[in-house]
Symmetry: C2
Subunit: 203 residues, 2 copies
């Protein structure tokens, strides 16, 4: 009886190998040859799953982006969940900022992928779609958490969402550059004061 | 009479070449060989100025960081300048966020350098020193612009400064990923609302 091969699992394994190699030695370390060797494949067998490095990088980008959203909230229905909207906002934004060692390390893979997206229109488009969805969902969270106060205009939600997404991206870089974690508590304070700003009654 | 060679100028020229190559083709494109060829040097002559790629990258990092501060305000004395402190804050923070094509492109070089700093302790230390000075100066600007209001504690200045620096870093990535500049105006609105937040009277 022929062995049953789970091709999807193999693709996932290959992506994990690529991610690990990038984490250890940057983009240059993740060659088709090194990925094949590390995954225990012949070079030709690897090409059965991914025709070239570009397609592995694209899949790795997708994978790292979805890791930033482990609970899949970007794909969630907009239907109210019953959860308190301020708690929901707090939970989701805390999830986005890198606090654990694993999340901080993932920032390094993101740096590599952003860099390559700068000269690869397809990767850039993948990121733009992710970013656009992330922004949209964040605006929805902010609107719910503010209780639909009239004092907050659509422009303000746009600005608050871009602020929050930018801080999250910035925190990726800052925490990666400061492995002693010296800014983690300041980011926690920032998130609390951000929530306070969004939810406080208009004067 | 022997030709007088301006060695400092040559070092600066080499750094500009490295920056241009990184901008065009990423870190891999900037090899000792390609830098020497592009700068019109023999490989051996290049080594007279920089013993290896690591030292060129370190010098390029320094150069890109000082470009982020073209007016040298990070090295300025803390002596009051006579300028209105709110205007001073506005001018400096607008300068830090990438708005022009040149500034947005510089973000790509930064991505490469951050990535390499993640596995190069010396580069990471260079960045930490820059970041620490940038943060310190920003806290000073915020304190002056808020008019020393009692309502603002030291912790709040720390949080506001980290917010602003993180947004600036995030804007580097976001603007690089969106070459159509669709978020430039939202960043302008953010900066104005940030200043409003810092300078407004306590309720």
């Amino acid at each position: 009886m022929p062995k049953i091969i789970d091709h999807d699992q193999r693709r996932r394994d290959i992506i994990e190998v690529a991610k690990r190699l990038i984490l250890q030695g940057g983009f240059e370390a993740a060659t088709m040859r090194s990925i094949a060797a590390e995954a225990g494949f012949a070079n030709g067998a690897l090409k059965h799953y991914f025709p070239g490095k570009e397609s592995i990088i694209a899949a790795t980008f997708q994978s790292v982006l979805s890791e930033m959203d482990p609970q899949g909230f970007l794909n969630e229905d907009d239907a109210p969940s019953g959860q308190d909207p301020v708690e929901r906002l707090r939970e989701r934004i805390t999830m986005s900022v890198p606090f654990t060692e694993r999340e901080i390390n993932a920032g390094r893979v993101l740096l590599v992928l952003w860099e390559h997206a700068a000269s690869n229109p397809e990767l850039a488009e993948t990121y733009r779609q992710f970013f656009s969805r992330w922004r949209e969902v964040t605006i929805g969270l902010l609107r719910d958490a503010s209780g639909g106060r009239d004092a907050v205009s659509e422009d303000e939600y746009d600005t608050l969402a871009l602020e929050l997404l930018s801080v999250t991206i910035g925190a990726n870089v800052v925490n990666l550059m400061h492995p002693d974690g010296r800014f983690l508590n300041v980011y926690r304070t920032y998130l609390e004061s951000f929530i306070e700003r969004v939810t406080r009654r208009a004067p």
